[in-house]
């Protein structure tokens, strides 16, 4: 057992940090906040700079245009981007790309992957429906074959980023007579296809997600990824990768560090209070524990595997910790902890504690709810009976 990072990884991290410091301008951050994960001129420029260095595809196989580097590099890349709050393609990069690389046809890989690493393609994910949340296999949006095309009809909800996306990664029922899990397919729908309607749903954290409606939407048959009626396995694979991303330590550590820095600079009186220091110490301990679970993911990835139970553990621990950090941070900041970014300089570190308090619930139920993750840990990790 050895917990040290080899020099090639620490060197890569240093290089990445230097690069981020150079690009992390207030203008870029403002654009990222305003577009809620979408695109703008500065983000596009940043993506080009990342693409130029090959970082988006460094861990992809050589056949699909990558360098075939150890996945640990990508893990480090995501951690650093999350820590500094930089746009890097997010789920399109961490979840959709590896799924296309695993399940896509040669043609699909050649078409989608370069667009993803250049930051030109943004995928929205269309799994959830009004009556298919945790019980995703209850989904009813259907696709029927008509010659060389699929004809899609139905409704999705929580199709985040659909309004700024180029494609929708859509889960549809292609065989209504098969057992629930065996009649589902993944179809890629270009967002500008006629018949796709997008309606925003505004959220309490300021951003929005969408409802999407599909009325006789026609796409070519070859847009199925992973085979007709074989979509469930593709979805599980993609969700697993999504969870490894959700389990990242970066974003959480950043809030903690900013809180500490703020108290040190602005409120040394509070930081001197032993009760305050005690609560900070508990957060530090929580973070250290969580970091170990995330590191365990990294270790499995580095061996060429895909963490499943370990990803569930880190997903549960990280998402629940996000709420705790935001909550404690607000408590320790007092009344000013409730000030949002719109209050300008009066809001401690751009109102990030307050913002994360509003944001944090979605991670706990998104990407497979934590109740389901605990089921996975129990079944797959401990072998408990069904």
């Amino acid at each position: 057992m050895d917990f040290e990072w080899a020099p090639e990884y620490t060197d890569f991290r240093d290089e990445l940090r230097g690069f981020i410091q150079q690009w992390r301008t207030p203008e870029l951050i403002a654009e990222y906040a305003a577009t809620h994960g979408g695109q703008g001129p500065r983000i596009r420029e940043f993506h080009e700079a990342i693409a130029e260095r090959g970082w988006m595809r460094m861990c992809w196989a050589k056949e699909v245009g990558g360098e075939g580097r150890n996945m640990l590099y990508q893990f480090i890349f995501v951690e650093e981007m999350e820590y500094w709050g930089m746009p890097y393609g997010n789920l399109t990069f961490t979840s959709i790309a590896p799924s296309i690389a695993t399940f896509g046809t040669e043609q699909q890989k050649r078409h989608y992957l370069p667009g993803i690493y250049r930051g030109e393609f943004v995928f929205a994910i269309g799994y959830s429906e009004p009556n298919a949340g945790t019980d995703l296999a209850a989904l009813r949006t259907r696709a029927e074959r008509d010659g060389d095309e699929w004809v899609i009809n139905g409704q999705k909800i929580w199709t985040s980023l659909a309004d700024v996306s180029t494609h929708i990664w859509l889960a549809v029922r292609t065989d209504p007579d098969a057992p629930r899990h065996a009649g589902i397919s993944i179809i890629v729908v270009p967002t500008d296809t006629p018949g796709v309607t997008i309606r925003p749903l505004y959220t309490m954290y300021g951003g929005h997600t969408n409802e999407t409606f599909y009325d006789d939407v026609r796409v070519p048959v070859e847009n199925v990824v992973g085979g007709v009626n074989a979509g469930w396995g593709v979805i599980m694979h993609a969700l697993n990768h999504e969870r490894v991303g959700l389990a990242a330590t970066g974003g959480l550590a950043r809030i903690y560090d900013q809180l500490l820095e703020y108290l040190r600079e602005e409120r040394p009186d509070r930081l001197a209070d032993p009760v305050v220091r005690g609560r900070l110490a508990e957060l530090e301990l929580d973070l250290r524990e969580h970091r170990m679970l995330a590191l365990q993911n990294a270790w499995i990835i580095s061996k060429g595997g895909t963490p499943i139970v370990e990803a569930s553990m880190a997903k549960v621990s990280g998402t629940e910790l996000r709420t705790r950090i935001a909550n404690v941070a607000m408590d320790l900041l007092g009344r000013s902890g409730a000030l949002s970014a719109e209050s300008g300089d009066r809001a401690p570190f751009e109102g990030r504690a307050e913002f994360n308090f509003r944001l944090s619930p979605i991670f706990r139920f998104g990407g497979g709810t934590n109740e389901i993750q605990r089921d996975i840990i129990g079944f797959a990790g401990l072998g408990l009976p069904r």
């Binding site: 057992m1 050895d2 917990f3 040290e4 990072w5 080899a6 990884y9 991290r13 640990l72 480090i76 951690e79 650093e80 820590y83 330590t249 970066g250 550590a253 903690y256 560090d257 500490l260 040190r264 930081l271 032993p274 220091r277 005690g278 900070l280 110490a281 508990e282 530090e284 301990l285 973070l287 250290r288 524990e289 969580h290 970091r291 170990m292 679970l293 590191l295 365990q296 990294a298 270790w299 580095s302 553990m313 549960v316 621990s317 109740e371 993750q373 605990r374 089921d375 840990i377 129990g378 079944f379 990790g381 401990l382 072998g383 408990l384 009976p385 069904r386």
Partner: protein, 361 residues
């Protein structure tokens, strides 16, 4: 980075586990507990097999391994609730190896590894505060009192923290003379423990304050591993029980509430183990990071009651009878969670230096 055990460590783990399952029935532990005794035959075997010598230099008869190896060993002992002074003798010897003079180390360490000499640390006094040491050494003789000395009445020697001309240090004392008087303390873990009065007992100086700090770091890291072993065993027993016990015509492990309790236990044990081994791996790499070590012990200590009490919840009535083996891990776990720094003490240490910058990524 490598979070797996290497081949030698895996072999060690399997060998020790098989050996203890074969040779150490839980009824034997019940007997030892009743008599307030320790497992001398097992200790002989531990020394004979060379398990104690894993992290010692070859010149002393050791295997030139690391503390991670010892962590593997101690976790297995904890999973079997073995009553041997493994942690105590091991860390006393390690501090001698790193801090004592060459003569002293080469005189004593081989005796420790052979089992002839069983040294145990005696740091705390009645006030139960690390660093608050009143025992005095004057002209080579020790005067003072110690408390919470694990296996003190079983040991041949005590490695005592005392002040000599005001300077904190560690001193080796022969515990078998009439100048050393042990009084037994009964604790919740049912392991041997005592308070000690030293009346001008002759000493040999082992180290200064640096040795004391190292001893605490070692005790902390390894007692965190002991906590993990106790918790892991409680978890394993619980998962097994949940797979056979039926109510409402179903195995209770199929109830989601029970499953989620188990998942929570598993997460607690996993992160506590990783932190504990991170501490040992750091020490093996020559880094003594007191904040990381305090965090490791705090995590293990605070997880113990959560995990073992959930184990009891899932065992229901069966878990509290003495015929059931669960109580070993609940009680021993709680005792270990207090040893070498409680969750509270370790968190207070983190709190004191909370502005220190952490490298999270």
């Amino acid at each position: 980075m490598n979070l797996d055990l290497n081949d030698t460590q895996e072999l060690l783990q399997q060998t020790v586990r098989d050996f203890l399952e074969r040779e150490l029935p839980f009824d034997r532990i019940r007997e030892l507990e009743r008599d307030g005794a320790w497992d001398q035959p097992l200790w002989k075997e531990v020394c004979r097999q060379g398990w104690l010598g894993l992290p010692f230099r070859e010149e002393f008869g050791g295997a030139a391994g690391g503390l991670v190896d010892s962590g593997v060993l101690l976790e297995e002992f904890a999973r079997r609730a073995a009553i041997v002074p493994a942690l105590e003798a091991l860390i006393s010897g390690r501090v001698m190896q790193s801090r004592a003079t060459a003569e002293l180390a080469s005189e004593w360490i081989p005796l420790i590894l052979s089992g002839e000499c069983v040294p145990v640390p005696a740091l705390l006094e009645a006030n139960d505060r690390f660093g608050d040491v009143k025992a005095q050494v004057r002209e080579g003789r020790l005067r003072g009192e110690k408390s919470f000395v694990d296996y003190g009445q079983c040991a041949t020697h005590h490695l005592v923290a005392a002040r000599d001309a005001g300077e904190l240090g560690l001193f080796l004392v022969d515990a078998r003379t009439d100048r050393v008087e042990c009084e037994t303390l009964r604790n919740i873990g049912r392991t041997p423990q005592c308070s000690v009065v030293y009346s001008d007992a002759p000493v040999q100086r082992v180290s200064g304050e640096d040795g004391y700090l190292e001893l605490v770091a070692l005790g902390r890291s390894l007692s965190a591993v002991q906590c993990v072993g106790h918790m892991q065993q409680a978890l394993d027993m619980t998962v097994e029980y949940a797979g056979v016990r039926e109510q409402f015509g179903k195995r209770i492990g199929s109830f989601q509430a029970v499953r989620h309790h188990c998942a929570n236990m598993f997460m607690r044990v996993s992160s506590a183990r990783l932190l504990a081994f991170e501490a040992l791996s750091g020490l093996d790499a020559g880094r003594l990071d007191p904040r990381q070590i305090a965090a490791a012990k705090a995590a293990a200590s605070r997880a113990v009651p959560e995990v073992t009490m959930l184990a009891h919840q899932i065992h229901g009535g069966n878990g509290v009878i003495e015929e059931n083996d669960l109580y070993f891990f609940t009680l021993r776990g709680k005792e270990r969670s207090l040893a070498w720094g409680t969750a509270e003490e370790c968190l207070a240490e983190l709190a004191e230096s909370v502005d220190a910058r952490c490298e999270w990524l």
